[in-house]
């Protein structure tokens, strides 16, 4: 046992020397994640604001003017003009000078005055689905809020108790991320992807490099066991992976203003397990890759694509094809993304996240064991 620990220690401290002497690794580990986080977070922001909007007032009453003024006050809509005809709306859409058009039909004011449903048309240019969808949602919300206000005002003027007026108006509220800031939504998920890319990449190379250097044979003739070799290889990277996560978390909090509402310990434990999972994947790649180049490429493919597509960080997992949903369980990203989002945004802790954390623990054990089994002791 003591001898085993000594051998693990020998491998671990040797790995640290490699890391210390290679500035590229330090950069890859500490600087790259931050840069990647910044790049990705700014590049794939889903925030929509200042959507060019045109207004068509077909009613020209006080009520319609008040109604349309609400659009001008919203940050979401950027009113670029008022038009007089539907033809002008078509033109604006064709020329892409506007993406949303709000049309108040004649009789709007009268209908409100009679307490009837007033109709407003919101036209959305669907060629940019993301803004279109959000635009629609915002306009609907705006309509409902305004509609209620207008109705209330009317009812109050008539001295009727508004609560008894009947007619339910839906009231929409977004939880956890009330401003619907996409940074809050994206950054916790992105952290996971970035950590995964870095750690898988680094460990994927480590065993292949020993083979290419010929040092692997020297290790083979020593009494070290596979498991010991794996543990020794992994331990420095666990430390670096956790440090990575810390750096990225600080960037998320202080640069992107992502709130950390939950339990830090839960996040720490999950991070530790997740890093082990990534290292397990990296070692799996390394155990089977034929050269450093192959290892690098496979590591990139295996961490990058599933990280993006199957972790649920950018695309909700329930909306991807069934087959891919099943595949996504084979990558630790999906569990960890749930953990970071829940801890950061919902203030969750172990009591809620134990299934995900359990899955990560199991995954770590399985991947590391598999890697040491696949890394055959005697090559053919």
């Amino acid at each position: 046992m003591r001898e085993a620990l000594r051998r693990i220690g020998a491998i671990a401290s040797k790995e640290f020397i490699h890391i210390r002497r290679d500035p590229r690794i330090m950069i890859a580990v500490l600087v790259m994640p931050t840069i990647q986080l910044l790049l990705f977070a700014y590049a794939i922001s889903f925030d929509v604001s200042d959507v060019p909007t045109i207004l068509l007032d077909g009613d020209r009453t006080t009520a319609s003017r008040e109604y349309l003024a609400a659009y001008e006050q919203s940050d979401f809509f950027n009113v670029v003009g008022r038009v007089e005809s539907q033809q002008a709306i078509d033109d604006a859409f064709d020329r892409s000078t506007a993406r949303i058009a709000v049309m108040v039909r004649p009789g709007f004011g009268e209908a409100l005055a009679r307490g009837e449903k007033a109709s407003v048309a919101v036209l959305v240019d669907g060629s940019e689905p993301n803004s279109a969808q959000l635009g629609q949602a915002y306009a609907t919300a705006l309509n409902q809020a305004l509609g209620r206000e207008l109705t209330f005002e009317y009812l109050e003027r008539q001295a009727i108790d508004p609560t008894r007026a009947g007619g339910i108006t839906p009231f929409i509220r977004t939880w956890y991320n009330p401003e619907r800031r996409s940074a809050d939504f994206l950054v916790p998920g992105l952290m996971v992807v970035v950590i995964m890319i870095v750690t898988v990449q680094q460990t994927a190379v480590t065993l292949v490099k020993e083979k290419e250097q010929g040092t692997f044979e020297q290790i083979l003739v020593s009494p070290i066991r596979r498991g010991e070799l794996m543990l020794g290889k992994v331990s420095p990277w666990v430390l670096l992976g956790v440090i990575d996560m810390l750096v990225v978390t600080l960037v998320a909090i202080f640069l992107f203003g992502v709130p950390l509402r939950g339990d830090v310990l839960t996040l720490g434990v999950a991070t530790f397990l997740f890093v082990l999972c990534s290292l397990g994947i990296g070692l799996l790649v390394s155990a089977r890759a034929s050269s450093v180049e192959v290892a690098n490429l496979v590591a990139l493919l295996i961490s990058f694509l599933p990280g993006f597509m199957l972790s649920g960080f950018a695309f909700p997992l329930h909306s991807i094809p069934r087959f891919l949903q099943v595949v996504s369980y084979a990558f630790p990203g999906r569990y960890m993304v749930t953990v970071t989002r829940t801890v950061f945004l919902k203030g969750g802790s172990f009591s809620i996240l134990w299934p995900q954390i359990g899955a990560l623990a199991l995954y770590a054990v399985v991947s590391l064991t598999l890697a040491s089994v696949l890394y055959s002791r005697r090559p053919d």
Partner: protein
Amino acid sequence: MTDALDMAIDARGLSHRFGSSVLAVDDVSFQVSSGEIFGLVGPDGAGKSSLIRMLSTVLRPSEGDADIFGASVLHKPDAVKPRIGYMSQRFSLYPDLTVTENLSFFANLRGVPRREIRPRSARLLEFAGLTEFASRQAQFLSGGMKQKLALAVTLIHEPDLLFLDEPTTGVDPVSRREFWRIIAGLHRRGITVFVATPYMDEAERCTHVAFMDGGRILFRDTPAGLKSRVPGRLLEVCTKEQRTTRALLEPHPWALSVTVLGDVVRLIFTPDGPSELEIETLLSSAGVVTQCVRPVRVDMEATFAFLAEEARQNREVAS
């Protein structure tokens, strides 16, 4: 029965197969006693490395087995490992670790008692003449120094048997001599050395030599015993027209083997063949200009050239 304790290597029907058909090592059996310097010579691709790697537990034999000091490489590799040192053909240390770091890494891996690491490293560095380079990263050592460091590393756990796979390939002649001086020193201390080499002059320094070709050991003996198998005299012809010379000499029945070695053509011919003068005349009458025609003592180079040729002809006859 030979003392099992005196037996360093006992290989029985060792084979190694690459893929499904290529036999790198083909049913090899031999024994090496403790205290020998056993030289394994043969051309590239003869199967020397595969054989060494099987004996040092790095490669699993496809068939057969070998006992190292009585422990099977197949079934008890963990009993074999502490007693052997293995130096592979390529430099196989960490280039970014210093000389000392490489030594202490393998010392820890090999379970050398902690308090012994420092004095033993110092002794080995002294021995290998690397003391002043102790804190230099291995990648910045010269070829010869790298090999000596690799040797020092394989000695850190004080093995009884050393496997050296072409340790001096690509090393300058001075370093080669020095390397062999070290090996001779180890031999005097009772360490058994099993060394593969493509250099015939190195084979001369071994106590026993085996010639390997095509995955098989064709013959093995002491260097003197091998040389006595050559039934003729050796003549060196210095000329610029090596090919013509060879073509002129080869057809004669008294010419046992003709090989070109650098700018010299070496002829082994039967004792009842022509005299040196007659051969010189034969060449000059064919218009070949020679700078020298001189008899030399049969050396390992010539021995192997002859024995390899003989083995090739025997194989052809057999098939």
